[in-house]
C-alpha cells in the first residue's frame, strides 16, 4: 500500500512538472510583452531595459525556468507584473472564493443528480422519467455563461431577488457575523445554481445506469422477498450501492468544476481563481499565470489521487488486484 502510494505520488509529481513546463514555454514563446501593460508611454527605451533587467526578463528562457521552478518549490511564485503584489498573495486571496463556489455547486449538483436518477429509476420510461431526461439534456446543452446571464436578467435585474455580481454587499464589513454569512449565501445562490444546473445531468445518467444495474441483482431480489417496501429497497439498498462510486470518485470531477468555475466567475464577477487567471493571461502577467496554472494542476492531480485512494479503500477488490499488478 505504501509502495503503491509512493509510486502514485511520484507519477503525479512528474505529471505536474511536465504540464508546468509546457505552460511555461507556451506562455513565454507567445508574442506580447508584459511590460506593455505596466509601463507608461513616457518610459524611455533605457528605462524599459532597466526594468526588464530588474524583473529578470532578459535572461535566457531555460534560466528563467530554473529560477521559477526553484522559487515555486519553496512556495514563492514571484511578484505579479501587473499588480504590485506577490502572485502568491493574489492567488491565496482568490482560492477560497473558488473553493466555496465549486464545493457548494458540487453538493447541489449531487442533490439534483440523485433526485433525477431516482425519479427515473422508480418508474422507468414513465412520464416523469421522460420529462426529467428531456429537461436534463436541454440544460446540458445550454451555454453556461448564457444561463448565468438569463438568471441575472430575470431573478436579479427584473425581480431583484438576488445580487447580480460579486461576493459581498458593499456594506458587508459593517454587518454582524450572521448577517455577513447570510449576505454571502445570498450572493452565492445564482452562481452555484448556474454551475450545478449545467453539470448535474452527467452524474444523473451515471447514477441511473448504476441503479438500473443494481436493481436487477440478487440482493435486491432478496430484499424485496423479505417484504421490504420498494421505497426502502431503492433508498436503503440500491441508492447506497450506486452512490458509493460517485462519492469516492468525486475528485475526478475537479477539472470540470474548475473549468465551469472560470465561466461562472466571469459572468458573476466572482473574485476567484478563474477571473484571476483570465486577467493574468490578458496582461501577460507571467508569475500569476504560472501560479494559477500550478495551483489548478496540483488541485486536479490531488483530486484524482484522492479518488484513487478512496476507491481502493471502499472497494477491497480493487485493492487486491491493484497489489497483484503492482
Amino acid at each position: 500500500m505504501i509502495f503503491w502510494l509512493a509510486r502514485r505520488v511520484a507519477v503525479a509529481a512528474v505529471l505536474v512538472f511536465v504540464l508546468m513546463s509546457a505552460v511555461f514555454f507556451i506562455v513565454r514563446l507567445a508574442p506580447g510583452d508584459p511590460l506593455d501593460r505596466v509601463v507608461q508611454d513616457e518610459f524611455s527605451a533605457a528605462d524599459r531595459a532597466l526594468l526588464r533587467d530588474h524583473l529578470g526578463l532578459d535572461e535566457s528562457l531555460p534560466k528563467q525556468y530554473v529560477h521559477w521552478l526553484g522559487a515555486a518549490v519553496r512556495g514563492d511564485f514571484g511578484a505579479s507584473l501587473a499588480q504590485q503584489r506577490p502572485a502568491g498573495t493574489i492567488i491565496a486571496e482568490a482560492l477560497p472564493a473558488t473553493l466555496l463556489l465549486t464545493l457548494t455547486a458540487y453538493l447541489l449538483h449531487l442533490l439534483l443528480a440523485v433526485g433525477a436518477a431516482l425519479v427515473g429509476a422508480i418508474r422507468p420510461a414513465g412520464a416523469w422519467d421522460k420529462t426529467v431526461q428531456g429537461v436534463g439534456l436541454t440544460l446540458y446543452s445550454l451555454p453556461a455563461f448564457w444561463l448565468g446571464l438569463m438568471l441575472i436578467m430575470l431573478l436579479s435585474r427584473k425581480l431583484g431577488w438576488f445580487p447580480a455580481a460579486g461576493m459581498h454587499a458593499p456594506d458587508a464589513p459593517f454587518m454582524g457575523w450572521w448577517a455577513r454569512q447570510g449576505d454571502l449565501f445570498h450572493h452565492l445562490v445564482l452562481p452555484v445554481t448556474t454551475l450545478a444546473l449545467g453539470t448535474f445531468m452527467g452524474t444523473a445518467r451515471y447514477l441511473r445506469a448504476a441503479l438500473d444495474e443494481i436493481l436487477g441483482q440478487d440482493y435486491i431480489l432478496a430484499a424485496r422477498a423479505r417484504g421490504l417496501s420498494e421505497r426502502r429497497v431503492i433508498l436503503g439498498h440500491a441508492l447506497r450501492g450506486a452512490l458509493l462510486p460517485v462519492i469516492t470518485l468525486a475528485g475526478l470531477s475537479l477539472p470540470f468544476l474548475l473549468g465551469g468555475a472560470v465561466v461562472v466567475e466571469v459572468v458573476f464577477g466572482w473574485p476567484g481563481m478563474g477571473r484571476v487567471a483570465i486577467e493574468a493571461i490578458w496582461a501577460r502577467d507571467y508569475p500569476v499565470i504560472m501560479g494559477t496554472a500550478l495551483v489548478s494542476a496540483v488541485t486536479v492531480v490531488t483530486g484524482s489521487l484522492l479518488a484513487d485512494l478512496m476507491y481502493r479503500w471502499a472497494d477491497p477488490r480493487v485493492r487486491l488486484t491493484g497489489r497483484e499488478s503492482a
Binding site: 505529471l15 505536474v16 511536465v18 504540464l19 509546457a22 505552460v23 507556451i26 506562455v27 507567445a30 508574442p31 506580447g32 439534456l137 436541454t138 446540458y140 446543452s141 445550454l142 451555454p143 453556461a144 455563461f145 448564457w146 444561463l147 446571464l149 438569463m150 441575472i152 436578467m153 435585474r157 427584473k158 449545467g198 453539470t199 452527467g202 445518467r205 451515471y206 445506469a209 477539472p255 470540470f256 474548475l258 473549468g259 472560470v262 465561466v263 466571469v266 487567471a277 483570465i278 493571461i281 490578458w282 499565470i289 494559477t292 496554472a293 489548478s296 494542476a297 486536479v300 492531480v301 484524482s304
Partner: protein, 281 residues
Amino acid sequence: MTAAAPWWGDRRLRSGLIITLGLGAVAGLAPVIAPGDPAALGAAADRLLSPSGSHLLGTDVLGRDVLLRLVHGARVSLLVGWVSVVVAILVGTTAGLAAGLGPRWLDRLLMNITDVFLAFPRIFLILLLVSLTTPSLLLVMVVLGLTGWMPVARLVRAEALSLRERDFVAAARGLGLTPMTVALRHVLPNLLPTVLVAATLRIGGAILAESFLSFLGLGAQEPAVSWGSMIQMGRDHLLDGWWLTTFPGLAIALTVLGYNLLGEGLGQRLNPRGQGEGRDG
C-alpha cells in the same frame, strides 16, 4: 432496443436529424434566406427596437436586425464546430490507433501525454493558447481541435486494443499484411461507428466553447457574426434589450441540443453499450 426498428422510429434520432439538417440548411442558404449585410450599420432610428412585425427579433444597439445576424451567425458556429471536431478526430484517431496497435513504449508515451492534458481544466489551456496572438476564428478552430483529441484517442485506443485480439485481425496479420494496412483496412473501418458517435457528441461541446470564447472577445471578430459576440453586445442591455442576449443563447442551445440528440440516438444504434463523455467549455 432492437436494431430492426426503423431509424425514423427513434424520437431522439429523428429530432436530432431535423434540428441539425435544418440548421445546416439555414447556415448554407443564409445569403438567400436573409439577404443583406449582417454587419452593415442600421439607421439611428432603428437602434435597440424591441421585436415587432418589421424586425421579428428586434434590432441591436447599432440598428442591425437580430434575426438577420442570427441566421448569418449559424455559419460561424457550425463551421467552428465541424472543423475543430474534424481536427480532434483526425489527431485522436491517429494517436489512438498508434497507441492501441503500436509497440508498448508508444502506447505508454501517448497515454501519458493524454493524461497530462486531461489533468488540467481544458478551458484554461484554450484561453492560454487563444490569447497568445491576435484572435481569429482559424486559431479558435485549431486550438479547440488540438485540445479536444485526448478523449477520442482514449476511446479509439480502447476499441483498438480489443479489436487487435479478434480473429480477423490476427488473420490479416497472419497473411503478412503490413501493420499500416492492418490498421487502416481492418481495424479502422470497425472503429468508425464509435468515432462517428464521439464526433457528433463533441460538436455540441465545440460550439459551446466557441461561443464562450467569442463572448470573451477572443473568437470571431467584426465583421464576422458570432452568437457568442452577439450575447456579449447584449450584456449591457439585459433589461432594455432582453432580446439581444436571449435569442442568440436560444440559438446556441438549439444547435447544441440538436447535435447531442443526434449523437445519443446514433450512439444507442451503433454501440448499445453507450458512452458517456465529460463536458467542456
